[in-house]
């Protein structure tokens, strides 16, 4: 890039310096560095905002908070910290279940599109999946609340009767179906498109070289997928899953519209009024919150922020642990 036409070397007096292109180069490298640091600045700004605004609520006594915020008390089960604890539990429980339901289905769809379906069908399916990703979450919430839940409620009853010995399905199944499992199912459907779209791309990028290596050894198609596709796509699958989890953790409207809220550390996902998520709780309490109430809600937002960061760090760590075997080298 530094070998320059003679015409320009005359003007600069140095045949090895490309004045104009190096200027552009410097400009763009500054620009990208600036864009990158903007992300860090935003992150720091959000963290600072959350900390500063939540600080009064975090540091004031529970009696003081209870006198100003009607949904907080002084008993060991309704202080701010205790409430956040329940909500963190609810958020993680509902998010994890959504992932356990959604991720395997997404991987299945992505694999079908990338490696099983005939080309025409694969294109159509891919298109539909992309469309689903663009549907706003309120729509999913409405659909879940009006269409899905009435259909699921009887099924929950059956699940509770027949498989009540399994801790998750124990307790008293709610006849309304406005329970944690419903929220998880709707969330699973919501995160399906994004996980599918990302993993499909990764599956498609498996080097033909490695697929053929497996096939030529006498692998069936499924064996080839386990031997060449999954190991290659592993970090992409984790990344996609985390993207989905991020959405599920932060999703507000769908959960708000579906779940009958409550606070507990119960694993009985068929019981109503036992769980809530941080995001849905903020949406629920925000409209009527006074100044102190808002500070308390921001403290919950801080908790959500920390959870999301932790999930991402964990994902990176999992991905990097075997990066030597990733095929990137």
């Amino acid at each position: 890039m530094t070998t320059v036409a003679p015409a320009r070397s005359e003007s600069t007096g140095d045949s090895l310096t490309a004045a104009r292109s190096s200027l552009a180069n410097a400009f763009f490298s500054r620009l990208t560095a600036g864009a990158a640091s903007l992300i860090l600045v935003t992150l720091a700004a959000v963290a600072t905002f959350l900390l500063v605004r939540a600080w009064p609520a975090i540091t004031s006594s529970s009696a003081d908070l209870a006198s100003k915020v009607d949904w907080l008390g002084t008993a060991s089960s309704d202080t701010l910290i205790a409430t956040i604890g329940y909500l963190v539990f609810g958020t993680l429980l509902i998010g994890t279940m959504a992932l356990l339901i959604g991720a395997p289905i997404s991987f299945g769809i992505a694999l079908f599109i990338s490696h099983y379906a005939p080309r025409r069908l694969a294109a159509t399916l891919g298109y539909i999946v992309d469309l689903l990703a663009a549907v706003p979450s309120v729509i999913y919430g409405l659909w879940g609340g009006f269409v899905l839940i009435p259909k699921l409620a009887p099924f929950y009853g059956w699940l509770n009767r027949e498989f009540g010995w399994f801790p998750l399905f124990a307790g008293e199944a709610s006849p309304t179906g406005r329970v944690a499992l419903s929220a998880s199912i709707v969330l699973a459907i919501m995160i399906l498109p994004i996980i599918t779209a990302v993993t499909r791309e990764v599956f498609l990028q498996t080097p033909v070289l490695h697929e053929e290596a497996a096939l030529a050894m006498g692998a069936t198609r499924w064996e080839m997928i386990r031997m060449a596709v999954f190991p290659f796509a592993r970090s992409g699958m984790i990344g996609a899953t985390m993207l989905g989890l991020g959405r599920a953790l932060g999703e507000t409207m769908a959960v708000y519209m579906i779940l009958s809220p409550g606070l507990s550390y119960s694993f009985h996902v068929l019981e109503a009024s036992s769980h809530n998520t941080i995001a849905a709780n903020i949406a629920l309490k925000f409209p009527e919150a006074n100044a102190t109430g808002v500070e308390a809600l921001i403290a919950m937002g801080l908790a959500l922020f920390v959870i999301t960061l932790a999930v991402n760090v964990l994902a990176r760590w999992v991905v990097s642990r075997r990066s030597e075997f990733s095929g990137a080298n």
């Binding site: 080309r119 080097p207 070289l209 490695h210 053929e212 290596a213 497996a214 096939l215 030529a216 050894m217 006498g218 692998a219 069936t220 064996e223 031997m227 060449a228 190991p231 290659f232 592993r234 075997r322 030597e324 075997f325 990733s326 095929g327 080298n329």
Partner: protein, 259 residues
């Protein structure tokens, strides 16, 4: 157990395009057969029909017969997966699985047939196949390193080890040395000479000296022009092909007066 291959009137297609037409030839067991010819004449296409890898490509199909010890590999009821366990393949670019260790790579094929192989048996397979591929001495102290940590030539020998670990009857090699330096190339040529005692080997090469050095018989493929199918021009003992070929095109090609 090396087996013989007889190809009768084989036409090979990519969708409507006929890439190889009317090939009939015989490959003796325990011999090395070299396929030579200009780029695009269908050598890779042809060699991939012998282990039914051709049909992996969408729209690809084959007409005619490929007999292995008299059994038509394209007869109805023949499972391509089973065919590939009998006919191993080494590709032009070394392709060890990057997510597997050296040992796991050597074992990959064996694991497909026998998932619960004991640790001792597994170590045995790894050692014998790596020894057979002349790679053991170089990697025996780092069997748990990724396969991609090896040099190109070592990776290619690892791929050969992986292919022979499942004890195929026939070993196909599509330009196995084209990505390698002269030393690694010689190492693989020596290896081919050794493997001949146990396998039937078919090798595609652009290197005339290599064909002359390693093969017993040589088949020359040619193409009449772009978009035309490749054809087998002649096949004979390697010494005959390189000293007194019957066809003018063959002589032109091997003496470099081509096109």
């Amino acid at each position: 157990m090396a087996k013989r291959i007889d190809v009768n009137n084989l036409n090979v297609y990519y969708r409507a395009f006929c890439a190889v037409e009317g090939v009939s030839l015989a490959i003796e067991p325990h011999s090395v057969t070299a396929l030579i010819g200009p780029s695009g004449c269908g050598k890779s296409t042809f060699i991939r029909t012998i282990n039914r890898m051709h049909e992996v490509i969408p729209g690809a199909r084959v007409e005619g017969e490929v007999l292995m010890d008299g059994i038509d590999l394209y007869a109805p009821g023949i499972d391509p997966v089973a065919v590939r366990r009998h006919v191993g393949m080494v590709f032009q670019r070394p392709n060890p699985f990057p997510t597997m260790t050296i040992a796991e790579n050597a074992l990959a094929g064996t694991r497909l047939n026998n998932r619960r192989i004991s640790k001792a048996d597994a170590e045995e397979v790894v050692e014998t196949s790596l020894k057979a591929a002349n790679l053991w001495e170089e990697v025996k102290d780092r069997l748990d390193r990724p396969g991609s940590s090896l040099s190109g030539g070592q990776q290619q020998r690892l791929c050969i080890a992986r292919a022979i670990a499942i004890k195929p009857d026939v070993l196909l090699m599509d330009e196995p040395c084209s990505a390698l330096d002269p030393i690694s190339t010689l190492a693989i040529e020596d290896l081919i000479a050794e493997l001949k005692s146990e396998y039937t080997i078919v090798i595609v090469t652009h290197n005339m000296q290599q064909a002359a050095r390693v093969s017993d018989r040589t088949a020359f493929f040619n193409i009449a022009g772009a978009g035309k199918p490749g054809k087998l021009i002649e096949m004979n003992a390697t010494s005959v092909i390189f000293s007194s070929p019957a066809e003018r095109a063959t002589e032109d090609y091997i003496s470099g007066r081509f096109g």
